[in-house]
Symmetry: C2
Subunit: 381 residues, 2 copies
């Protein structure tokens, strides 16, 4: 094995390709995957992996699938989710769920209103299925009149909640109003709730609200952001009975099943989360966030997302500095962060002054990142 | 958890949706996933899963990725594969690799010549990206004049080798001739070699042949058919330097990385395969195939794929019986097989007389399937 390891050829820049460059970095606070240390109780689950393998091998797939759904959805407050109905499809990842949703939407829908900003693989995947996108500004979406979301007309609303990178959450009343507006227009409401686990305010029972509205809906849920399972994870694609889109058909083009071992692992980690693990995780993220903010307090930066509790944090550069230039300088000293321009997929300039820092990391990694950011910013002022 | 487990709503039939119905069957010889027992040395690898997790957590992702590629491609004779070049992209599964390839092809290509028959998710995924398909009959493809494959004109050839369900293999000389014909026309050659591990005749170094031709090529390789790892697996998407398709870009829309634990597991299983595990696997499949053939010897069936050594076997119903009717009757007695109509994606009637039986199963499962088939056929004659 004497070949040098080269990065994939990069012809076009997106956030994921920047994250790829950080996969062997000394200080990687780039991607939003869960890379913190295992908690003691999580460590005990991993210690028993071989036993979990045997358990998974001894149960049927539908049984394992429903047990994982049951543990995960209940741990995050989603008690009215359609467990056991066949309308929760386990996918390799939330991005695979999104690809399936995009292809299914494209069957009958042309125009999608998409939250702005958000992680750029969402617009890229939707455009990959030739959908036309209309940006919906986050404040207008989360606080405005839902009727305005349909000017210009769109046939589908796609909302990330909590949003990435801002951590902003769609409140229960606003969800109810948006769902009612969708029902009135026979529009499809798609929610990506991948970061839900970090924020209790996003854990009210969305399925109760959505079912009551009668709207056609799709939810994408994700186990991959929460637990440091080395990316053994699943995305769950959930849809309403009245969806009238070929989701199950397209699912079966790409998926037969996820790994039974992954399902058992999700069940175990979800039960641990419900038994106190979620609070431990929230405390750890809060502590990492506080450390980062404290370490940069003397610098001309602000933290625009004061209420955010998700596992990423935005930094606004108040001095006349460009986020991409700072990102480049940080990379030179071995610290990988994301510039926020690409999150503003319809107008990258809006995000030019922001960086995104991942917080689901060991404390030492966050501190090293803070120290690197502090040095680099000081040198650039 | 009192909800009943229901199968997903089935509105359209394809092979994967039939396989889903078999996931909790008593005798499931439906899907081509690896469900045989672990060998003793494989069992020792699984016994050390927790230790593998710690090892994976301690190495960088690019290092783990290249180590897995190195072990896997060399175990299957693919010594000239571009290990370390960045042109081997690890995907959650071969179907995810195929979805990425389909979207990339659709960027500049309209018409694809596709082997006929083959597993129906391939035409479904290609059509999902709005590609026009031209069926290429397997005998003509594997033994005919390559120039004829371009009448009517196509811009891409897609070949499954060894083929599923027939086990037919594209020989080295024919591959060279087809690759040369593609190079002459600037056509893209896509090979799906997911079943390569079962057949030494498919383990000559394809990359040497393809590199020499100068054609634009994509290979899809798969660890998922070989080893009973509870579907902890990866698909590898490999492409030529001159591909001129946005494969890396679309990859990054859907994938950041596969699980580091899965990469370590692939490396371990591939090293075991190279150290004798492949022969053990081949012997087991051969034994299962012989048992199946022997058990049905008194019945009016034949085995059309005499030379096949892959992990699926076709049965031809010589009596006036329809494959789908036999499949239905078998399901009633708890034995799940696949009817072969849908493999003949351009003319299902061609496959009406055939069944497909999966052989990567414990011996007892194959024997139970053979016994069920024998009873049901006897009752239907």
């Amino acid at each position: 094995m004497s070949q040098p390891v080269q990065a994939p050829q990069l012809d076009r820049t997106n956030l994921t390709r920047m994250e790829m460059g950080a996969l062997d970095a000394v200080v990687n606070v780039s991607d939003g995957h869960a890379r913190q240390d295992l908690s003691p109780s999580q460590g005990r689950i991993i210690h028993g992996l071989a036993e979990l393998f045997r358990r998974a091998a001894g149960l049927t797939y539908p049984e394992l699938d429903v047990r994982a759904h049951d543990a995960f959805f209940h741990a995050l407050g989603q008690h009215a989710s359609p467990i056991g109905s066949g309308r929760i499809l386990s996918c390799y990842a939330s991005s695979v769920a999104m690809e399936i949703v995009a292809r299914a939407l494209a069957d009958t829908i042309r125009s999608v209103g998409l939250i702005h900003p958000t992680f750029d693989n969402i617009p890229d995947i939707l455009r990959g299925s030739r959908l036309d996108l209309v940006p919906l500004d986050e404040p207008k979406l989360l606080g405005g009149d839902p009727a305005e979301l349909f000017v210009p007309p769109v046939e589908c609303l796609f909302i990330t909640t909590p949003n990435n990178p801002t951590g902003a959450v769609l409140a229960r009343r606003q969800l109810a109003d948006i769902a009612a507006a969708c029902a009135d227009r026979d529009a499809v409401l798609v929610l990506d709730s991948s970061f839900r686990g970090f924020d209790r305010r996003a854990q009210y029972d969305h399925y109760t609200v959505l079912d009551r509205s009668g709207c056609r809906f799709v939810l994408i849920e994700d186990t991959g952001k929460l637990w440091p399972t080395l990316d053994l994870k699943a995305g769950f694609l959930v849809y309403s009975r009245n969806i009238r889109l070929p989701i199950a058909e397209i699912y079966s083009d790409i998926m037969l099943n996820v790994s039974p071992l992954i399902l058992v692992l999700i069940e175990s980690f979800a039960r641990d989360a419900a038994a106190g693990g979620l609070e431990t995780l929230h405390d750890d993220i809060a502590c990492n966030r506080a450390q980062l903010r404290d370490a940069l307090t003397a610098l001309p930066v602000t933290f625009p997302d004061r209420d955010s509790v998700v596992s990423v944090e935005r930094i606004r550069l108040d001095a006349d500095l460009d986020g991409r230039a700072v990102t480049d300088r940080l990379r030179d000293v071995g610290v990988h962060v994301l510039p926020c321009g690409p999150f503003h997929w319809a107008d990258q300039a809006e995000g030019a002054r922001f960086l995104r820092i991942a917080l689901a990391r060991p404390r030492a990694t966050v501190n090293a990142a803070a120290s690197g950011i502090s040095s680099v910013l000081t040198s650039m002022l």
